[in-house]
Structure formats: C-alpha cells, structure tokens
Symmetry: D3
Subunit: 331 residues, 6 copies
C-alpha cells in the first residue's frame, strides 16, 4: 500500500445549514478541512496509507480536528499541539447565480507558529512514496515557509515524490514577503506541479503560448519537475459547473473527459479531490491517461459530497472512469 | 370506494440526512417502506380503501411500523406480531454521478417467519377489488412463498384481480430455491404482471422480439394474465431521470408521455408509485391510456417526495395528466 | 440615504423542512413575511432606510414578528400592538412538477382590525422618499382599506412617491366589497403601478392590445401614474423558472435580461424582491434600464434565498447586473 | 376489549424546541392534542378500542391531525371534515421558576362550527362502554354544546358510561352563554365527574366542607353521578411537581400515593392521562383503589413524555403501581 | 421610559447542542453575547430604551451580531464597523459534576482596535439615565481603556449614572498593563460598583472585615460611588445552584431571598441578568430592597433561558418577586 | 504510556432524540458502543494507548464503526472485516419513573462469526499492560468463546494483566451452552474480576456472607485473581442515581465516596466508565483507594455524557477525586 504524507494548515469550517445566508444562521455545521489534508483524507478513502503533518492548539477543538482526520483514516501521530488559535473559516453556500462566500479567520493560528525543527522530517517521510504541499503554507509565516523548505529538501533527499499546488492567494501574504520571493525555491523541489499558465508567468516570469509551452519552459527553469497538471472549471452557475483536467508528462498532454456537474452539493475542495485522484492514479497505474481521468472523475464526485474532503471510494470513481455517469441506485 | 389488499415485508429505512454519506451520519432519518406497502399507501392517499398484510416483531418498533401505515390510511387490522427481527435497510442518497447506495439488513425478519395458515385470506380478501404482491416475498422463505400461494389462490377463487410485480432480486434467494422454481406457479394466478422482456425470458423461457411479442407469448403460457405493464427509466444521473410507462391490454400497447424529472428528491419507490397509479386508473376509469398516464405521472411525482411511498393526492396527479408540469404555486 | 415606508400585514410562515409534504411535518420552520414588508426588508439589505407600518397582536409572537423586521434593519417604531390574531400561512415546498402549496390562516388578524386614525401618517411619512402598498391590504377589511386611503393621500400631499402592487387575490375579499369597488381610488394615488394587462382590464375596464398600450390607457384614467412595471415568469417546473421584467416610463418600455433560475431554493417573494430592486434602482440612478435590470437580477437572486424576503446585498445584485451569473465562489 | 368514545376539539400544538422562549424560535415542533383526544390516545396505548369524534378543516393539516390520532391507534372514521380553521396553540416550555406559557389561537375552528345532527351518535356509540367529554366543548359555541347534549343523551339511552371533565375555562365562553347556563344539563347525564369543590360551588351552587361532602351534595342534585374524582397537583417549580388523586365512589374516598415528579419533561395533558388511567382501571378491574392508583401513576409518567398525550404502555404504569419508581433500565 | 447605554465587546458564542462535549459536536449553536450587551438586552426586554456601543468587523457576521442586538430591542445606531476579527467563544455545557467549559478566541477583535475619538459620547449619552461598563473592556487594549475613560468622563459630566462591573479576568490582560494600573481611574467615575471584598483588596488595596466594611472603605477612596452590590452563588453542581444578592446603599445592606435553581438550563450571563434587574429596580422604584430582589429573581430566571442574555419580561420577574416560584403554567 | 487491549462486539446504537419514545422517533441518533470498547475509548481519552479488537461487516457502516473508535484515539489496526451483520441496539431514554428501554438486534453479527485463529494475539498483545474482556463475548457463539480463551491464554503467557467483567446476560446464550459451562475457564485467567456476590454464587457456586468473603472464596477456586471490584447503584429514578464502588485487593476492601447523580444525561456505559477509571488508577498509581475513587468519579461523570463511552479527561475526573463536585464553570 502506497504511503503519502501531506503538510499544511487545517481549519474548522463553520457553515449555515443548506443554503441559508450568514444572517439566517442560528447554528453552524462543523467540518475540518485544509487543502493538503483534503488530499490526505481522499487518498485514505482510496485505501492508501496517509499521514498529515500540522499543528493545532492544545485544546478540545484542536484535538477534535486531529480526531476527524484520524476518523477518515489519516495517520495523525506527527501532528503537534501547542499555543495559537484554531484557524477558522465561515462558508455561506450559494445556489444558481448567488455565489458561495467565505469569510476567513485564520491569522495567528497554531499552524502559523510552527518553527523549523519542529518536525522530524527524516522519520516522517521514511518509507513514504509521495509528499504534497500547497502555496498556502509559505503564505502564512516565514517559519512555515522554512519548515516547508526543510520538508521538501528531506523528501528530495529520500527520493520521495513531491507535488506542489502552487495556487497562492496573494491577499494571504502578510508577513513582508511576496510569493515571488518564496515560491521559486519551493517549486524547485517539486516533481509534479499543479498550476496554470498565468501562475507560471506571474510567479516565475514564464511567458508562453499554451499550457504545454508554459510547462516546457518551466522545466528549463525547474529541471526537477516531471509533471504538470491543472483543472479547468467552467462555472455555469453556483449549482452547475463543468470540469476537465489536463496533465503534461514532459512529452505529451493528456486530457480528461468533460464532467458536467448539474446539481452541485458542495464544491469546496474540488481541486484537492482532483489531485488526490491523480496521485492515486499515478501511484497505482503507470498510465497518465488513466490518472488524469481518475482525478477528474474523483473531482466531479467531490462536488456531490458535503464538506471539504472527498469521501468517495475507488469503486465509485472507477465506475465513472468506466464511463457510467448514470448515478443508478446500487443495492 | 375500491378496496385493495397488499401483502409483503415492510422494513425500517434508515438514511443519513440530505446527501451525507454513511460515514458522515450522526443521525439517521426513519421511514418505513416495502414495495407492496408502498402501493397500499399511495392508493390510500388517492382515497382508496386499502389493507396491508404483513408480520412485525412484537415490540415498540414493530408497532411503530404498523402505526405508520395506519397514519397514511392503510388498514392494519390483519397485521400479525410475533418473534423475529424488524427488517432494515440503510440508504445513502446520491447526487449527479454519485449513485445512491443501499445496505440491506433484512434476514430473519418477523415477516420471513410467517407460515401458511397464519392469515385468514378468505376474510381478508372478502369484498376486495384487487390483490397485489411482488417477487420479493417468495424470495425470503419457503413459508412466505407458500403463504403467498394461498393468498393468490384465494383471490382467484373470490374473483379479486391479482397483480404481481415479478422483478426478483436474485441475490435475495437464500433458502435453496431459485426464482424459476417458485415464480411460475405464482405468476399463473395473476391478472396483471409488471415485468420486462428480460424477466420473461430468464424466468419463464419466453423468447421474444419486443415487449408486446413477449406479452403475447406469456399469455399462451399464463392464460389468466390479461394485462402487462412496465416502466422505462433513463438515468441521466442520480439527480435527473426520464421515465415513461407502457401497458399492454392483450390487444394493444399504450404508452405514457415521457416525464423529465430534473431535480430528484427521492427515487426509491418510483416503480411502486407507478403501479399504484396504474391500479387507481384501471379501477376508476375504463381507459388504459388514462391508467398508464396516471401511473407514469404519479411515478414522476414520487421522485419529489421523501420516503418510500408516494404521498401525493389524486389532484396533484391529475394536474400532470392534464398536461400541467409547470409546478406553479398553488394558494 | 433614501427612506422608504411600507404598509401591510405580516404573517408567520410555517413550512415543513426541505421538500417534506405537510403530512410528513413534525416541525415547521418559522419566518415572517408579507408582500410589503418583504419590499422593506430587501431595501434595508440594500442599505436604505426603511420603516414598516403594521399591527400585531400584543403577545410574544407578535413581538417576535416585529423583532424579525428590526433584525433585518427595518424601523418598527410605528408598528402598533393590540387585539386580534397573528396571521399565519403554511407552506409546502414543491419540486419539479410537484407544485408548492399554501394554506392561508389569516382571517381576523390584528392587522385586519386596524382603524383609520390608528397611524399618524404625517409623522410616519415625513422625510420619506417612497411609500409602497399592495392590493392585499384593502382586501382584508373596510377599515384596512380606509387606513390605506389615508396613507396614500398623505403621501400624495407630502410629495412622497407611491407604488402599488395591484395584484389582488379575489378569494380574499370577504367583507362585502369587490376589488373593483375599492382599488380604483387607491390606484389613483399611485406614481408607480405593478400589474398586467389582465389586471387592468378586470379592475378598471381597460382593454388594450399590449402592455404598453394598456399602460397608456391607464394613464388617461389615472393621470398621476408615471410608471408601470411587471414581471413575466415562465414556470418550467417548481424547480426551474425563467424570469424577466419590463418597465414603462410613460414613453418607452424597458425590458430586462431573461434570468434562468435552474435550481430554485424558495420562490416566495420573488415579485416583492423585484419591486424592491426596481425601487432601489429608481431611487439611486436616473436610469430606467438599470432599474429594471437591477430589479430582475434581485428577483432572480431571491429564488436562492430561504424565506419570504430577499436578503442579498447590492454587491450581489450588481455582479449579476454586470453580467456575471457564474456564481463563482467569493473568498 | 373495551371501547371508549371521546368527543372534542383537537388542536395543532406548536412549540419551540427544548426550553427556548417564543422569541428564540426558528422552528416549532408539531404535535396534535386536545383534552378528550388525549384520553383516547392514552387508552389506545393501553390496548383499548377507542374512537374520537371531532371535525377538522378539509385540508392537508386537518387530515394530518386525524392521521396522527390514527397513528396512535384511535379510530378516526367518525371524524368529519369541512370549513373553518384548524385550532392552534403555541407552547413555550418553562423550567424551574419560569412558567410554561400558552398562546391560544383556536377561535372559528372547524370544530366550533359543528351542528347538531352532524354526527350519528346511535351508530358511533353502539357497542361502546364509555363516552368522555369535557367542559371545553360547550364553551366553544352553542352548536357544539347542543351536539354534546345529543351525544350524552344517546349514551345515556344506550347505557354507555359517561364521564365529564367539568373544568371550564371562563375566558373561552364568548358566544353569550355562561358555564352556569349550559353545564348543569350536561352534567346531569354523567356517571363520573372530574372536578373539585370550587367548581361545584361556582357552577352548581354546591357549598360543602370537603371534597367528599361536596360529592354527596352533588349526587343529590345530579342523581345519575356515581363517581367523582380529582387530582391535586403541588407545583414546587415548573420542573418539579407532586401529584396525587382521589376518587369517591358514592360511599368512600380512595386516595392514590403521592407521586414526586422531579424532572418534568412535559406536563401538558397530565390530567387527561389521569382520567385515561382511571377509566382503564375502572373498566378492567372492579377495584377503585387500583383505578385511582393506576390513574395517578399514568399521570406521573405522562410528565416524562413529550406532547399532549400519554404514550406509555400498561406495563409501564403497572410497574409503578406495583411500587417500582426506580426507573431502572429495561433491556 | 428610562434610557441605558452600555459599552463593550460582543462575541459570537458557539456551543454544541445540549450536553454534547466539544469532541461530539457536528454543529454549533450560535448566539451573540457580551457582559455589557447582555445587560442592555435584558433591560430592553424589560421595556427600557437601551443602546449598546461596540465595534464589529465589517462583514456579514459582524452585521448579524449587531442585528441580533437590534432584534432584542437594543439601539445599534452607534455601533461602528471596521477591520479586525469577530471575537468568539466556544461553550461546552456541563451537567451535575461535569463543569461547563469555555474556550475563548477573542484576541485581535474589531472591538479591541477601537480608538479614543471613535465614538461621539456627548451625543450617545445625551438623554441617558445610566451608563454601564465592565472590567473586560480595559483588559483588551490600551485604546479600549482610553475609550472607556472618555465615556465615563462624559457620563459624569452629563450627570448620567455610571455602573461598573469590576470583575476582571487577570489572564485577559496582555498589552502590558495590569488591572491595578487601569481600573482605579475608571472606578473613580462610578456611582455603582459590582464587586466583592477580594476584588476590592486585590485591585485597590482595601482590607476589610466584611462586605459592608469594604464598601465603606471603598467610599473613602472613591467618594463618587454611592452603591455597591454583589451576588453570592453556591454551586451545588453544574445543574443546581443557589443564588442571593446584596446591595449596600451607603448606609445599609439589603439582601435578597435565596433562589434555589434546581434544573439549570444555561448559567452564562447570570451576573449580567442580576445587574440588569437591579438597574431596572433602581430606575423604576426608589426602593433598594425591591431592586435587589428584582435583580436576584431576574438572575434566577436567566438560568432557565438559553443564550447569554436574559429574555424574560418584567411580568415574569415580578411574579417571583411576589413570591411565586411555582412555575405554574400560564394560559 | 500504558497500553490496554480490549476485545468484544461493538454495536450501532440508535436512539430517538431527547426523551422521545420509540413511537415518536422520526430520526435516530447514532453512536457506536460495546462494553469492552467503551473501556478502551475512555482509557484513550485519559491519554492511554489503547487497541480494540473486534470484527465488523465489510461495508460502509462497519467501516464507520471502526472509524469512530479511531476518532476517539483507539488503535483499530487489528479489527477485521467480513461477512455478517452489524449488531444494533435501539435505546429509548427514560426520565423520572419512566425507565429507559433497550431493544437488541445483535444476532448473526459479524463479531459472532469470528473464529479461533482469526486474530494474532501474540502480536496484538505484545507490549500491552492490560487485556480486558466481558461475559458478553462468550455468550454470542462457541467460536467467540474460543477466540476469547486464546486471547486470555496468550495474555497470561505474556504477563499481561487480564480483567474480566463477568456480568453475563442469561438471555443472550442461545448456542447451547450455559454461562456455567464456559465462564469458569475464562475467569481462571483473570487477574481482576468485576462481579458481585450473586454472580459468584450463580456462576461458580460460591456461597458467602459478604462481598469480601465471596472474593476470598473465589480466590481459593481461582488463585490467579488478585483483585475484585464492583459498583453499587441506587436508582432513585431514571433521572437520579447514587453510585459507589468497592475494591478488594486480596487483603482489604476499599470503598469510594458515594456519588449523587441528580440530573442524569445518559447512564449507558456507567459500569464501563468505572472499569476504565479503575484500570487507569491501578496502572498509574500504586494506590487502591485512589484507583477505586478515580473509577467511581469517572463513572459519575459518564452519566453526564451522551453516548456509550465516557469522553471526559483525566483533569475532569481528578477535580472530582479532589472533592470538587461543584460543576463550576471553567474558563
């Protein structure tokens, strides 16, 4: 069984039930999520061995956040507990032309206070096949960025595949550095990168005519990167999206089917579900077309699952990859 | 007022709220259903006199199951109570390409322990216009099959119309008999059969070119059967189905409109709702086209009703039969 | 900041959760609404200064109804409390071809017992820019009609713009008068009327070839009326409507885009949301096309909001008016 | 099996969940209850054959009210449906020193519009052992009082025992008559009366030194009355009551144990539960002491059951009558 | 009608339903509260004119917090909106010997970022009868302390009575100052102080033999203070408390009855409820005994109300002050 | 950190919310529990390393049961999955004199189908300090009894302390053996036994004058047993119990305080909570008095926690052991 390690902040998500607006909420539904942990949970639901590394406040809610990852099968033994807050985000779920809205409340989280040396990456990554990170971690604090740098270097040294979701949220960077200051060194340690042409230009100055062209130019600048991938989402409305994914393996671009998601239940974490599916596909079959299709189908299914993380099984994804999108009752 | 008697197992259905997956359920919504009882409930909501015959465990939940049928207007005075379990099924409701899933937990139910002689069919069927059964009952135990045989023979003797939904679930048959051993004798007592060409071939060896051809050949083998009917469901996704029905009256095949069900709330019991509508149509108007249309419209409406049984009124169905699918607010 | 005063009954709305039918309801969700108060709430959510005038029973639920308006930012200082019931309505929410159903229980409400002189309209309307009423108020009692007449006359005297939603529900008129007896005098005091060709003919004997023609003829009969407006709703199903609005300013008819509302959450109050949007548009920009578009977009958004009133912000409407119907997540 | 017929209004009860005050309610829990129907439901839960006679509005909620009685085993075949409202009451549940509060909204109910001749009492009471009424029915309208008079006379003629709960609510009498005008004639037809010394004085001018003395004097005025009964409630707080009952059989007064109810769940219908228990005791055992004890124990148990009606079984009551108040877990 | 102004932070409170522990929470109930705002809400429920002054983040949840105060009748027109977080606290409700637990998450709140000059106290306090503050505000930031100083000075100048709840939470003071540095100057502007002997010693170095002795010595140090008050809570368990209050008016100490609260629903805000009741008593009757009794009874009732604020009416309190603690149903 | 291994069936518990009776349940709350697993969960909440060994059906609900144990910190890596049902039990929660009721539905569970050799006890018990079993396991099937025998023998061989809760439910034994046939051999491998005088006499023929006398005689028959323990519960009502525990260490009997549990939230698992507390006490301190007190306090706290397992922390128990039963709010 393949082992994947992920690293990043996990937040409590608080959302009014159904389609209620914030102003109508008398109770809030609680789940826990974070882009990297979502990848771990989904891979655990696929039967993989996964571990998530993060830091929580040392109180009952921090413990509950860790317990939730454990519930879904993620190894939480490397999570540390200490001072700082539990990062939060509030989600109002939209419908049709009313957009979902997020209010973040994540500053000064326990995770943002991690320090280099806090985690014994040699031990954590021993025996792992894959390490995954995202551009949110280096945005939170210099120490978080430094910790991540340690992790990536250790993974590289141990021969663990490294994937980076380099989408960054420019408004998160508050500690005096810009994404352009920090992300290149982290990107250099990646074997697989999720990003698009615009990111590559904005972050690394890569100007290109197409996704494939951009990837080839990225490979010149970052020779370690083998694979590039991205998803394309067409938002017809908050209730109806179309989705497809593409994957460049250094020589060729593979595209998934277009998935028509006509009755969205929860679109948060759709990209994380894609990455989990892609990683599963790459680790279990030596077939890029299968991997990109598995990822895209997994992402489509995520849109029907409440919460941040994709809780579907391999069987549910494989049915779709096999072409069955009928949603026919299974007894 | 027409009187219909139905016979079969009723289960407690336990379903996570909304679209939650089983793994996300901290509470389960409870309804009670069974294919034959669903027909009775729907006919009671249409204003018919109905009675359901079954057997429940003699405890508070068995009593609650019976009370629920009574709530919806079904006569429960012939239900017996005794040893055995309450059959259960767990339902996870899917959306879009994620299929709904059912976990059955129905073995050793109180119903499966019924014995011939347990029910006084002469009395139960006195004054009835219709008796309905399904292929699930004979799958559960030899005694259940024998009981059903008694009921059908009594109905035939009393001149009560008999309908059989011969869809069988091959994986239910655990007591040493195959559907082919048991169903033919039961089918021989039917006046109306719900089934398709594939069922007819698999169960009775009828090879045919079309539904109508299959029906004509069935009538040679089972001369009592006057009417055949079936529904055709096109599953575009778990949230979007198209449905139509056909009815062969021995000389001609009648087809309903195609009903486009774009936002499914609960598709369980769609077939039972059709049969209830068809029976209502046949019993109240001497017009096969009306009956098949009423049945198909009723089935379409069922997909918008939570639970196993169709709780809509005649007025709601007739509006659709009259061509109004607009769903316009009624004040 | 513009100030709008509205006048009319507010009812407690009791609705089974989700798509449950009345017969399945073990709890009922509570909101408060009324066509004129819905306009006030929506305008308050747009940042306007609003006041609603009504009368509630002097008990905890009457107080809660007023508090709910205040919650949404409406000034409730002119509401009076006394004898009579709290008007109620029960709502069953439909889906696809199953229509939503309303059971009204509003007779003998505290509001219907208001009497001329109960409200000091001079004070209430001082400084107001707009006064809004609907055809429901004069249907409830002669005194209610007389009170309304007082209010309109005062508004006319003070130069406050008056809008009337003249949709009347013929089955509400129980006190011996017909709409034709009462509405003309009230209509005569309007600057803006919401209604359609059929209303104009039925109420005022205006026969016309088109909406615009009807409006021009109305203006001859009611010279004060400057503006006419109406919405056109195409009900594809209870879950899917299309909506557009038109506005005649005495010289030209302006039409909004057609809004395709594919996954309706709650369509109650869609017309009130339109009027609130239109009034906002007229009060803030001297541009009829903008106003009708703002109104129609607001109405489309209302269909995604639970409850009677439209709780969206100006920003949410403006995004749609700007052409963005993508419902893309806002972080 | 004994058969009991009850007659009276049934209301929808709407209560905020838990201990929420009205002003905090965003949903209301729904049950249906009425003092006489509560007696019927409790007796049905004891295994008796019961029928309730009332009148509901002919809409989905009126039908749901009847279905709820049927759910609990009450025969609803004599219920009529027609115009008028569904009577309602709103309940806020108190705790400790905060009293529960009820807001009634029952005027113009479908029940209050019944007319003499509406019910075929000969048929309804045929084969019955007991008929029960309360002082609320004659308070609602002259017709309701007249209907009740018909019922009592028929019961007397058929030899059916008649019990009357003569507690009257003076503020309910709005149609021009006083309790003193109407209740004596109804009381004259009773075999058993629930009431206290104060009622007897206020209603019938009976002045007495004690309950027993009052009963003896009542028997002079109303020679048909065999039995008198009443409960005594000591309200230590909204959460803690003490309860005992007494019963006079014409020669001797029997008193029950004192029941200490330390953690009240729902005290509504405690008196109805007592009467149901007493009637059960009288009908099944010729032992006044047993009957009053069974009634008091049943009433004590009712305080632990949510809703208006007592849903406990004979076994649960008998355990208490046998002296076991330990509430020990039953597996 | 008396007018009271309060000033302080308002937090969102997030609590698992019922007695669930944090680790069992899948949803959290939302209310808004803060010690000073709780006083305002309770006084508004008593029919007083109240205004609360605070600062919220300028987003939907900050707006909802303000709306909630408005719902309960508090004037929110002086609340400002801007940057910073919404302060939060998480509450786990205990029972019997299991204590309730609070996790605070309130640092960097919008309120803590207020600055002197932000509020126009002259206008806000014009016409007010009372101004209330607590020791939490000066703990949050130097600016908050400075703002409060401004308010108190203005109130003193305008002749508005000032009350201070000087309970301080030592672990809240993070900005470099100690309570002893800040509180004396604020206390000097008070007319009424809530505090106990230990507080007076710890904060102001007052050593005394009794509460009354301490008060007299405080008056020497702080000559403006006319009144001192405090509550004494005996915690028999998390479900059962006893409560009494005392009040020193400069010459005599008045004590309330002891209130036995045997089934606690929610004890948060019990002290605030007392103060609101006391203030109400002092403002409406010139009778210290009445005021302290009204306050203690109000506080006892608060323990039966979910949420931070006391939502009971004057009538509910007066019944208790009149000696009726029976909690008898009110129809 | 001490390591404890437990072994036994885990069931899904389905309970109506609050105090609703089964007949009132429209949804059922879901938790998972089993006497031995409850011990493991409680010890995990105390910070111990625990592992539970069981067998679940290989479907989503079996997986959810295991995940729930993992959520609470129990190692689930030795759990096996296969055929058979998920054992269930239905719980109706009583109050005051109304007893809670359980309906079991556990036959043919996946656990009852375990076979000797299914678990590698050498590995599972390696490094463990304690192994715990109960008398329910050998009641379920001969294979379950044989498996347990294997486990106990392995534990004895490895020097792992063994505790047995020998309460047996006589009505569970359906496979042809009596408790007396099976329990003695299992008891012989125990170091600690939970049971009372009556059990010892009924199961092993030990006649004695007192608990201590019985224990001494048990030690003659079963020389391995070092410790005996039991709890004594006084059930004043379903809402109010008193509890104490005693512990005999071979020479002396230690008794805990009496714990008065006045407002019970959930009494299921009170005995398991005691055992977990006792084991924690024995493993962490060499002080029998401390251990029995810790156990009894833990059990008292359990009665305030919803669900089968005790989720309180060491700190919460220690406060009570230290004498603080005040339930005072902890901030």
């Amino acid at each position: 069984m393949k082992k994947i390690v992920t690293f990043g902040e996990v937040m409590m998500r608080l959302a009014p039930p159904g389609f209620a607006k914030f102003t109508q909420a008398h109770s809030l539904n609680v789940v826990y999520g974070g882009t990297e942990a979502n990848v771990a949970v989904s891979l655990a639901c696929f039967g993989c061995q996964t571990a998530h590394v993060t830091r929580f406040p040392d109180h009952a809610l921090g413990r509950a956040a860790a317990a939730t990852l454990r519930y879904h099968g993620v190894d939480t033994s490397s999570i540390s507990f200490g001072d700082g807050r539990l990062g939060l985000y509030f989600l109002e779920t939209g419908a049709v032309s009313r957009a979902s809205q997020i209010i973040y409340d994540r500053y000064d989280s326990a995770f943002s206070l991690i320090r280099p040396g806090d985690f014994d990456w040699e031990t954590i990554l021993a025996g792992a096949d894959w390490f995954h990170w995202s551009g949110i971690t280096p945005a939170l604090s210099q120490q978080a960025a430094d910790c991540l740098q340690e992790a990536i270097e250790t993974a590289n040294r141990l021969g663990v595949m490294v994937s980076g979701d380099i989408y960054f949220r420019s408004n998160l960077w508050k500690y005096g550095k810009k994404p352009q200051d920090i992300l290149p060194a982290l990107t250099a340690g990646c074997d697989l990168v999720l990003g698009n042409q615009e990111n590559f230009e904005e972050l690394y100055g890569v100007k290109a005519d197409s996704f494939e062209d951009a990837c080839r130019k990225m490979q010149i600048q970052f020779p370690r990167i083998q694979y590039f991938t991205d998803t394309e989402r067409q938002s017809l409305s908050a209730s109806h999206n179309r989705l497809m994914a593409k994957f460049f393996d250094g020589s060729k671009t593979y595209s998934s089917d277009v998935y028509d998601i006509t009755h969205i239940v929860d679109r948060i974490g759709g990209g994380d579900a894609y990455l989990a599916g892609l990683i599963y596909g790459l680790l279990t079959k030596n077939d890029p077309q299968y991997a990109v299709e598995f990822g895209a189908a997994a992402s489509a299914l995520k849109h029907t699952v409440e919460g941040d993380a994709n809780l579907v099984s391999v069987q549910e994804v494989e049915a779709m990859v096999g072409g069955d999108k009928s949603g026919r009752l299974r007894r």
